[in-house]
Each structure stands twice: as structure tokens, then as C-alpha cells.
């Protein structure tokens, strides 16, 4: 699986969107989450991010996720876009 080789981002800080930054990391997944609905959906957001990373085969990365109330399908799309960009694939 291709590694994250560069700092990349995807998404926006508009309502219903999420801004994801990804960068190379030595070991495991390091995830920083900030969300307007952290209390209600913090766990769900983190699971969606981690599941998407696993589906993309990302094992090492550092992510900063700033959520503005995005639905799960939006979170998944933004994380995947960030991964492809971080691999230099798009």
C-alpha cells in the first residue's frame, strides 16, 4: 500500500462539511478531532475516519479533522480524497 508521502488536505470549514489534513507519520494512526457535534457524534466520526483509512490501506498517518457537522458519507469522501492527495495520486 502506498504511503502518505506529503502533507495534503481536503474539504472545507463550511457547515455540513469537514476539513481533513493528513501528513506522513512514523507509526500508527494519530488522529486529532475537533467538531461542533463532538459530544453527540465524536465517536461516530472517529470510527468513520478510521474505517476509511483502513479501507484505503493507510496504516501510518497523522490526521487533523475539523468537522462542521458533516454526514458520514461526506466524512468518508473527504478522508479518501485527503489520502489520495497525500499519496500524490491525485
Amino acid at each position: 500500500m502506498a504511503e502518505i508521502v506529503r502533507l495534503a488536505s481536503a474539504g472545507t470549514l463550511e457547515s455540513s462539511d469537514v476539513y481533513v489534513e493528513i501528513e506522513p507519520w512514523d507509526e500508527g494512526i494519530e488522529l486529532q478531532l475537533e467538531s461542533v457535534v463532538k459530544g453527540q457524534f465524536g465517536g461516530a466520526i472517529e470510527s468513520a475516519v478510521r474505517a476509511t483509512l483502513a479501507e484505503c490501506g493507510v496504516e501510518r498517518a497523522r490526521l487533523t479533522v475539523s468537522d462542521r457537522g458533516a454526514l458520514e458519507c461526506v466524512i468518508r469522501a473527504r478522508v479518501e480524497t485527503a489520502v489520495l492527495r497525500g499519496r500524490g495520486e491525485s
Binding site: E14, S16, D17, A70, L71, C73, V74, A77, S90
Partner: protein
């Protein structure tokens, strides 16, 4: 029934999420003009995820991919086709060859995915002078083509004329497209009306399109959807007439008569056809006879 088609920008989650509630029969998720070149990848994945995971409440899903003279369109099809949108809207369709190029790639992708042939239909967007002149060839280039779509903004730029509210400059293109589409046996959709705040203007423009024979009309503003739906819905008068036609046919059959007249006018196959379409539309709107209480 597809009266109204609403454009939604493909990279704006807030619009996509609320799209199903805006009253449109079909949603056009846009990967082309509404998305900056640097965000094409993001929009493609967002639209893919939205179609895959969201409930669009019965709205038809149309995806406008990028035109075949860009480097994006094949990746668009790769990402979108597995989600089985109802239609792909192909911008800048100028010739039968353009359709064949897209059709070939879609066919290969369908095969690769194990989908039945022509699962995803194609709607060429005619928005160049060449496209207008080739309209019939485009409409009949492939059985995948389900409808033609007139895009007047780019067309008027190509014609080097001003786009006006009255639309004199696109009269020819409108009648040409309706004729070509009907000759090829496909539907045909009218260009959006672009003044979001002109409530009277949209009604006039939609009524004009209906009078010319268009199946429905696209919109870039949710505010126009309701008017378009009203204009392109059959009227109660049309529905009543359609039932009268069908009753007359039934009666004639029972009596073993060949020629059928209604209100002094001969009923021929096109009239019957039309009556059947009207009744089908009425049923979808809950205005059919068996729906009425």
C-alpha cells in the same frame, strides 16, 4: 416522470444533503462547471459517496461529468458508474462521434462491473452550434441516449450573441432540438432560466418550453423547481380529456367499430399515445381516476 431537473454543485455537501427536499424530479450532481479544476477529485468522491449512502427519496440521479476533451471524464465515469446513477449528462456533445466515444467507455466499464448493458443512460448536453446542427445524429447515435438537453449559456457564447430573458436567440435551437429528439424517439429538456429573482419570467419561459414540446426543464435555482413542476404537469383538463379518449376507445371496441370520433375529431394513434402518457403522469401525481376519492 421528469419535469424538473435541479443542478447541485458536486463539491458542496450542504447542497447535496438537502437536495432531496427541494421538490425536483431529478437532481443533476455537477462535476463540471460548478467544480474548480483543483477540486475535481474531491467532488468526484463526494458525489460517489453521496449516491452510495444517501437516500434521495425517489429523485432521479443525473451526474454531469466533465466533457470528453478534458482529462477528467474517464475518472468521473470510473468513480460514478458503480453507483448506478440514472443518467450521465455529457457536456459539450457536438457530434455522434462524441457520443460513441463516451458510450464505448461506459459500455466497457459496465462490462467490467458486471452491469447489464445500458444500465446507465446518457443525456447529451447540446451547447454548441455544431451540437445543434448534429442534434438528430447525436440523439440517434446510440440506444444509450435517453434524452437531449439544451444548454443555452454556452450555446449563445458559441453563437456570439447575447443570452436574453426573452430567448429569441435560442428559438431555432429549441425547435431544432425538440424535432431531433422526437424524431429519434427520445425525451428533450430545456435550458435553465438564469434570473433567480424573476418569478414571472421563469413561468413564461417554462410555458414557452412546454408549448414547443420539451419534456421538462432544468433549473439552477431551487426557487424555480415548483413553477417548472406546475407548468410541466398535465392540467386537470388534459387529464379529463385523456380519460375521455380511453373511454371512447373502449366503447368503440365493445361495439366493434373501427373509426373512433370524439367531440367531432378522429382519434388516431398519436392521440391515444398522448392520452396514455397523460394518464401515466396523472397517476404519478396522484391525479389518476383510481387515485381520486
Amino acid at each position: 416522470m421528469r419535469r424538473s431537473m435541479l443542478f447541485l454543485p458536486g463539491n458542496t455537501p450542504n447542497m447535496l444533503v438537502n437536495g432531496p427536499y427541494l421538490g425536483a424530479d431529478a437532481l443533476i450532481l455537477d462535476l463540471e462547471d460548478a467544480v474548480a479544476p483543483s477540486e475535481k477529485d474531491a467532488a468526484r468522491l463526494l458525489v460517489r459517496s453521496a449516491i452510495r449512502d444517501m437516500d434521495f427519496r425517489g429523485c432521479e440521479i443525473i451526474v454531469r461529468i466533465n466533457s470528453i476533451d478534458t482529462s477528467f471524464w474517464q475518472a468521473d465515469i470510473d468513480a460514478i458508474l458503480p453507483q448506478r446513477p440514472d443518467l450521465i449528462l455529457l457536456p459539450k456533445s457536438g457530434s455522434a462521434q462524441d457520443i460513441l466515444t463516451a458510450d464505448e467507455y461506459i459500455t466497457r466499464t459496465e462490462e467490467r462491473l458486471g452491469m447489464a448493458p445500458n444500465t446507465v443512460r446518457l443525456m447529451p448536453l447540446i451547447e454548441t452550434a455544431l451540437g445543434v446542427e448534429n442534434a438528430f445524429a447525436i440523439a440517434s447515435a446510440s440506444p444509450r441516449v435517453a434524452a437531449l438537453f439544451l444548454g443555452a449559456e454556452d450555446l449563445t457564447a458559441d453563437l456570439r450573441c447575447q443570452r436574453t430573458k426573452e430567448g429569441r436567440e435560442i428559438e431555432y435551437a429549441r425547435t431544432r432540438l425538440v424535432t431531433a429528439a422526437r424524431a429519434a424517439g427520445v425525451d428533450v429538456y430545456d435550458t435553465p432560466f438564469t434570473d433567480v429573482n424573476d418569478d414571472a419570467g421563469i413561468r413564461t419561459d417554462a410555458a414557452c418550453a412546454k408549448a414547443l414540446g420539451f419534456t421538462g426543464k432544468a433549473s439552477i435555482s431551487p426557487r424555480h423547481v415548483e413553477v417548472i413542476n406546475q407548468v410541466f404537469s398535465p392540467t386537470m383538463k388534459e387529464i379529463d380529456y385523456a380519460y375521455e379518449v380511453m373511454d371512447a376507445i373502449r366503447l368503440a371496441k365493445e361495439q366493434g367499430r373501427g373509426a373512433i370520433a370524439l367531440r367531432g375529431k378522429m382519434i388516431d394513434a398519436p392521440i391515444v399515445n398522448r392520452a396514455q402518457q397523460t394518464i401515466a403522469a396523472a397517476r404519478e401525481l396522484g391525479l389518476g381516476r383510481e387515485d381520486a376519492q
